[in-house]
Symmetry: C2
Subunit: 326 residues, 2 copies
């Protein structure tokens, strides 16, 4: 959520001249995305997002992310599309960093998703899974089950600073997840970070509510169990701010998804376990960030205990019926 | 240069509904201005800047700043214009802070001003001085000569952390400035912070260069000696990055100014002293910020010694001829 790299007027002019997008009218650093520097670039033709990829993004993985956005946009998914320069390239160098210009997506993220928003998320996610199915590149999910134990070892010595019994809970849960993690569920392209921040909506006066305008921030996208993407969203969209799980939101999300991409019985049965895994993933990364980010730093720390509580909730779930399904 | 206050979608929608500017299409926090939170707001009608005034702005002074922008824009100066809501008010409350929407000014600031940019600055500043002359409100300049000694006392105990002889230089210079500060020069509305950051230019393909598109950030504006505004710009625009003073830039700036608002002999003769004062002002505030901003903080610290060197330069100036004037 910060502008790490300042792009000066002269460097920008040279960069933009590589594209067929007209002359620069304005360019403002924006607070969007956690990992990269983003500018809202306006030319006399249109608005665009200019992204400079900072240290935490592996340059070797950029062709995957850029190619994926292009693949999905070509198939009609509402998401940013990378622009190609006159030389055909979508990725080039600006201020010594890899950089790309993508199309500007109208809309805003929703702070408190309602039933309507959850209902709209399901079909959009399913559509993304279907349209990503023939994307030829793959990327391992470093933050799935195999990556959790090393993260746990990194936070273990100081876990009690967050909560007394945090290390015990994680240790027991990791044993369970590693033993029972499903191996035969459909795998494909997942977003892996489809939080409300990354889904844009636009007020629709005709319909009298919000309609989804697109998905953004594909920089955690990877190849993994499709239903795991749903599990991440159950955690990110279906809990109220007081910590209560809202089964109606979950039902709308799941049924919206199933209308576009039906879920098998195996996928449905695995949901509680996948939701525990998804809670573990964010509990671990938030704990790590909590312990390793100075309190006054640029990035706002997110509360790990939110995911401790979500994990505890899913541990008590007996079956997918508790997510509102018949 | 930071988004201090996050405005959520629902709060924004309610706020924008108070204006006749259409429906929100996007709203991005932007890194502009040091003191406030700014959003680039796009509606289905146009682009705007939404500003939330943070702690460092005194709410009692907002009517001055808002009124001034409106006054100048009405008289045709290219600068942001505050929008009035349906209730006629330009200032209201958002997220418990005073907030206003102003018009969006196309253009970008220039990192390294050239002769052309300096030549364009002069007439724009003079035009602002003329158009501000009948602005009915006044605001004391807290950062002029009377405000420097208290700032010096605040940094004095730790001044040596910046430079060995800093306290001695400032002490002697303050005595000189307080004794010789001019009292009979024309006074009026000045910008008081007209750095290259606050002047926008647009590439002009017809003219084959940049043309000025407007002035922004009036939150240091005040009532003070008009030529002091020029002196601030001599420091901010006419030194090269290696510290050398560029008399050609100064001449273009001054002559551009004089074509629109002639300078009296007294004003010209006072320029070297005013430039010393302007250098003192930024040497003091930058030193204060340097000593009181943690190294890892959100705001980038600016080098106080840049203004130490500028002050030393002007101390050696014999008369306005050294600023390129005949």
């Amino acid at each position: 959520m910060a502008v790490y790299t300042e792009v000066a007027d002269d460097e920008l002019a040279g960069f933009v001249a590589e594209y067929d997008i007209g002359a620069v009218v304005s360019c403002k650093g924006i607070a969007e995305g956690v990992e990269n520097t983003n500018y809202l670039l306006q030319t006399d033709q249109d608005s665009y997002i200019l992204t400079l990829y900072e240290k935490r993004v592996n340059p070797d993985e950029l062709p995957f992310f850029i190619g994926l956005m292009e693949h999905l946009a070509e198939r009609g998914l509402a998401c940013p599309t990378p622009l190609h320069g006159r030389d055909g390239r979508a990725l080039r160098i600006l201020c010594e960093r890899p950089a790309a210009i993508v199309s500007f997506l109208k809309g805003m993220s929703i702070r408190r998703p309602t039933l309507t928003h959850c209902a709209a998320l399901g079909p959009a996610m399913a559509e993304m899974h279907l349209k990503g199915a023939d994307f030829p590149l793959t990327r391992r999910n470093n933050l799935s089950v195999a990556g959790w134990r090393p993260l746990f070892e990194a936070i273990r010595p100081r876990a009690a600073e967050i909560k007394d019994d945090l290390a015990d809970l994680i240790a027991a849960e990791l044993d369970h997840l590693e033993t029972h993690w499903p191996e035969n569920l459909p795998v494909g392209l997942i977003h892996a970070d489809l939080f409300p921040d990354n889904v844009f909506f636009l007020a629709d006066k005709v319909a009298g509510g919000d309609r989804m305008s697109g998905l953004i921030d594909f920089y955690f996208a990877c190849t993994d169990i499709l239903a795991y993407d749903i599990a991440i969203c159950l955690n990110a969209w279906c809990f109220e701010t007081d910590g209560a799980f809202n089964a109606t939101k979950a039902r709308l999300l799941l049924n919206g998804y199933r209308r576009v991409r039906p879920l098998s019985a195996d996928e449905l049965c695995a949901l509680p376990l996948l939701a525990r895994g998804a809670a573990m993933r964010f509990l671990l990364t938030r704990s790590y960030d909590w312990l390793n980010t100075p309190a006054g730093a640029l990035v706002k720390r997110k509360d790990p205990l939110e995911y401790y509580r979500k994990l505890r909730f899913h541990q008590g779930v007996g079956g997918p019926g508790e997510y509102g399904l018949e």
